[in-house]
Each structure stands twice: as structure tokens, then as C-alpha cells.
């Protein structure tokens, strides 16, 4: 079984583009990915596309064929929906079809248009990723759900809102040189602590922004890359996906994310690596506490120790285990259906040395992307390695 290569990737500027349609955003990212890959668009065998709330934001379902058309490819196109892990799920399908020999070239990507409907409607739309009957009707919002997890975490393991503020400060600092990022603004721990509360204990700076954007990547088999002389040094060597009860109330514990544990274990075993081999990680920090839970599930930190990682500087760009060099969802932005592929693109660019923060891991050869849906009821983890 050979490992699919990342031949090219494209990401739009993440931010507020309320007037831009989903198809226009995706064309931007998809054409950049195709151009960068050097692949003939006629060779594309399939499109796997992530999108979460297209019906609510754009009154547009059935987006697969629409997006294939938008990037000029004539191939079967399927939309995947796994809340915020939609694009991660798309990557996983692409890896499977390339490995089993059904395809030689696949485009993966995702797009989300969110700011056109305003903050209140977007918050409402995001909430449909939770249990409508038993959570949303009890007033739960997504910030609220992660606040419930944060408080449970503090109760079980300790830590404080100030530790979470350090996660925000770190990710804002990482994004300062990322021109794709929605927020390029340095903040202090004091700024984060004094920001308005959204859902106690979480405040404005614990939450990712609402974002319009798209991301795409061209993946090929190793043989196709070799035969066509593609410059594609980074391979996806491991894929994993885990699930959990949809509603938080139905889970045995609220301070851990076992769906991500399962995804990480599967992906590491698939790649033949261990957590200790990972040089760099992009994780799903929709809220600061989510980064803490993610790095523990990835095995980069023991349960209860992830909360101190940013505070102690371990996960900063000059630390031993840099996390979210892109700025993460927190500062880069989170166009929901695009995020998983934007993470993939970041890791590929960090490992091939073209990302503006690649100097954080000059000898890095192994990266992971952790993409979580809902309150981590769906998670994908992908391992990427430099193969040359």
C-alpha cells in the first residue's frame, strides 16, 4: 500500500467576505491547488468536498458537482458533512480511494460561507451540529458546550482561564506572518482575560472567529507523482477517524475527547509512528480548551498536562512541540467545511519548508492534523511525512 502524495494546495484568505459565494471561494482555492500541483485537470478522478452549513447560509445543497464545475473538473464529486470535521472526512475518503487503486488523482477541499448571515444566525447554524432536542433546546451554544467541557476539565485536572489565555496569545502570535489568517493581531494574556465573556469561563479570545473561506489540495498516488515528475515530497502516511455520542450529556466524562484518542491511535498505527515521532501539529482549536483536549488525545501531552503547554511555552513556535503554527482556528479563522484541508495544507507547507513559520521545525519530517466536529463527536487525524 503506497501513501498518497500532496501535489499542491491552495487556501483563500480567511476572513470576512460576505459578498463572495461559496463557489467563488472554492474556485479560488481549488485552482490555486491545481496550478501548484502541475497536474492536468483532466486527470482528476474525483472530488471530495467538505461543507457544513451551505443550506442555511446560501440555500445551497448538492454542492459536490457545483464545486467540481467551479474548478473546471469533470469528475464524480461528493460532499461530506461531519460538522467542523467535514474536510478531514473528505481527506480520509480521498486517501482510501487513492490507496485502493480506484483513483490516481483526487482533489480534496472544502468551503464555508458564514459571515453573510450575521453572527446570530451563524451561531444558530453552527448549533445544529449538537443534539437539537436535548442540547439546543436547553440553551446550549457551541461556546457554551466547550465552556461545559472547560469547567469539567478544570475540576478534574486543575488549570485556569489564564492558562487558556496563553493558548490564545500563542496562536495570535503564530498568525502574525500568515497572510491567509483572518486575525493578524498580537494580544496579551491581559487582553484575553479582560475580554467580554461569551460563555463562562470562556471569553471572546477563547473563541475562533466566524469566517468565510475555502481550501483545496491535489492528492495523487505515489506512482502518478513519480511518472509525472511532480514535486510532491510530502505524503499522507496515516489516516484515522473516531466517533463518540453526539450529545455531551451522554458521555461518561466531559474532560476528555475519546473520539480523537481513537483517531490518533488509528492514524499513528497506519503510519507506523508513535506520538513521540511527531514534530509539528495543527489541531482543532475552535475554542482554546479544544487545543488542550486535542494535544492530550494526540498523545503529545498526558491527560491533565496539556493545559500547561502554552503557558510553559512548549507549544509555541520556539518550543519543543509547536502547535498551530498557522495561528490555528483561533487566529487563522474557521470556515467550517474548509478547516480540515487548510490544516493539511499548513502541515505540507511547514514540512516542505515553504510556510512562513517553517523555521520553527527546520528538521521536521512528521506532522499531524487533528480535525474535530461538534463537541468532538467526530474526529479525523492525518499523519504527514516527508518522503522525498
Amino acid at each position: 500500500m503506497t501513501d498518497p502524495r500532496i501535489a499542491g494546495a491552495g487556501v483563500t484568505q480567511f476572513g470576512k467576505h460576505p459578498e463572495r459565494t461559496g463557489r467563488d471561494l472554492f474556485a479560488d482555492a481549488g485552482l490555486e491547488a491545481l496550478d501548484q500541483s502541475g497536474v492536468d485537470p483532466d486527470d482528476v478522478d474525483a472530488l471530495y468536498y467538505g461543507n457544513f452549513m451551505g443550506e442555511l447560509a446560501e440555500h445551497q445543497g448538492h454542492q459536490g458537482p457545483l464545486m467540481a464545475e467551479a474548478i473546471g473538473i469533470d469528475a464524480p464529486a461528493t460532499r461530506l458533512e461531519a460538522a467542523c470535521a467535514s474536510a478531514g472526512a473528505a481527506v480520509r475518503e480521498a486517501v482510501k480511494t487513492l490507496r485502493n487503486g480506484e483513483s490516481d488523482v483526487v482533489v480534496v477541499g472544502g468551503a464555508e460561507r458564514m459571515t453573510n448571515i450575521g453572527t446570530a444566525a451563524a451561531t444558530d447554524a453552527l448549533a445544529i451540529a449538537a443534539d437539537d432536542l436535548y442540547e439546543i433546546r436547553a440553551g446550549m451554544t457551541f461556546p457554551g458546550a466547550y465552556a461545559l467541557m472547560a469547567r469539567a476539565y478544570f475540576e478534574e485536572f486543575g488549570g485556569s482561564h489564564e492558562d487558556l489565555a496563553h493558548v490564545a496569545v500563542k496562536n495570535h502570535e503564530h498568525a502574525l506572518v500568515n497572510d491567509h489568517a483572518q486575525i493578524q493581531k498580537a494580544i496579551t494574556v491581559e487582553d484575553a482575560m479582560e475580554a467580554p465573556t461569551i460563555a463562562a469561563p470562556l471569553g471572546l479570545y477563547d473563541s475562533c472567529p466566524i469566517t468565510d473561506g475555502a481550501a483545496a489540495a491535489v492528492l495523487t498516488t505515489e506512482a502518478y507523482a513519480e511518472d509525472h515528475g511532480l514535486d510532491a515530497p510530502v505524503a499522507i502516511s496515516g489516516t484515522g477517524q473516531g466517533g463518540d455520542n453526539l450529545a455531551l450529556q451522554d458521555r461518561p466524562h466531559l474532560a476528555r475527547t475519546p473520539a480523537a484518542d481513537k483517531a490518533a491511535q488509528e492514524a499513528y498505527a497506519d503510519a507506523g509512528i508513535e506520538a513521540g515521532d511527531v514534530d509539528v501539529a495543527e489541531v482543532h482549536d475552535c475554542f482554546t480548551i479544544a487545543e488542550v483536549l486535542a494535544i492530550e488525545s494526540l498523545g503529545l501531552f498526558e491527560p491533565g498536562e496539556g493545559i500547561h503547554a502554552a503557558t510553559e511555552g512548549t507549544t509555541t513556535r520556539d518550543g519543543e512541540m509547536p502547535v498551530n503554527l498557522s495561528g490555528g482556528l483561533k487566529a487563522k479563522g474557521h470556515p467550517v467545511g474548509a478547516t480540515g484541508v487548510a490544516q493539511l495544507a499548513t502541515i505540507a507547507w511547514v514540512l516542505d519548508g515553504t510556510h512562513p513559520r517553517a523555521d520553527a521545525v527546520p528538521d521536521g519530517t512528521v506532522g499531524v492534523a487533528h480535525n474535530a466536529g461538534g463537541t468532538v463527536a467526530s474526529t479525523t487525524v492525518h499523519v504527514m511525512e516527508v518522503k522525498e
Partner: protein
């Protein structure tokens, strides 16, 4: 979704809570869930029975929400909590206590109240 749409077992469950006769679904292994369930997601058992909800629950975690969805705009700020009632946990609005005074482990009862914003029914916990 609005409450004009019927949601079968969920509506029945809310009716029973309102009547003071709350229940949950339990499998033969003792795993507790809220309806509708035809199989225990934990152990796969299809031998499920309706059991009376304990009168008192315990707050497992809570948050005070200040930025709400449009359906809860006039309710904000409000407290949402997960409370454990024996083998089943339930999400509800905490009322009858200052948000600052809600703590993990607090004993609460369960009832049905109205959302201030829409008048729709919602699960409410009160200190007991």
C-alpha cells in the same frame, strides 16, 4: 425547529417531566439514556425499559451563557448545566439561583419551564 413540529417520544418525555413523572430509558446493563432509544449505544442491548427519574440530580458541569442564539436572546444571561440523575445525565437551564452561586455537585430537581424569548418549553433545574 419550532414546537409546532411534533417530536414523538421527546414531546412525551417533556410532558412526563412537566407532570412530575419524569423517566429515562435503561438497558439491562444499567446504562441510562433519554428517549427515543431502541438499542443501548454503549452495550448494544435491545432490552430497554422505562424507569422513573430520580427526584434529585447533581450538577456535573455548568456555564453562564451571555452570547445566545436568537431563540434564547432574551433569556441571556442564563445558566446551562449538565446534571446527573443516577445513570442518566440531562442538559437543562438552571433557574432559581444566582448564576454566580451555581457550583459543581449542587443538588437540583427537574421541571419544565418556558424560554423567555419564545415561550417554548425547556428543561429547567432548580436547587433543592
Amino acid at each position: 425547529m419550532t414546537e409546532t413540529t411534533l417530536n414523538g417520544e421527546y414531546d412525551d418525555w417533556i410532558d412526563q417531566i412537566e407532570a412530575g413523572e419524569g423517566y429515562y430509558v435503561e438497558c439491562e446493563e444499567g446504562h441510562g439514556w433519554l428517549p427515543p432509544r431502541r438499542v443501548c449505544p454503549d452495550c448494544g442491548s435491545r432490552e430497554l425499559s422505562d424507569e422513573s427519574l430520580p427526584a434529585s440530580g447533581e450538577i456535573a458541569t455548568h456555564t453562564t451563557i451571555t452570547v445566545a442564539t436568537p431563540q434564547f436572546e432574551d433569556d441571556a444571561p442564563y445558566v446551562t448545566a449538565i446534571a446527573e440523575f443516577g445513570p442518566v445525565s440531562i442538559t437543562g437551564l438552571v433557574r432559581g439561583v444566582d448564576p454566580e452561586d451555581v457550583s459543581m455537585g449542587d443538588a437540583v430537581g427537574i421541571e419544565v419551564g418556558e424560554r423567555e424569548t419564545t415561550g417554548e418549553r425547556a428543561v429547567v433545574f432548580r436547587p433543592r
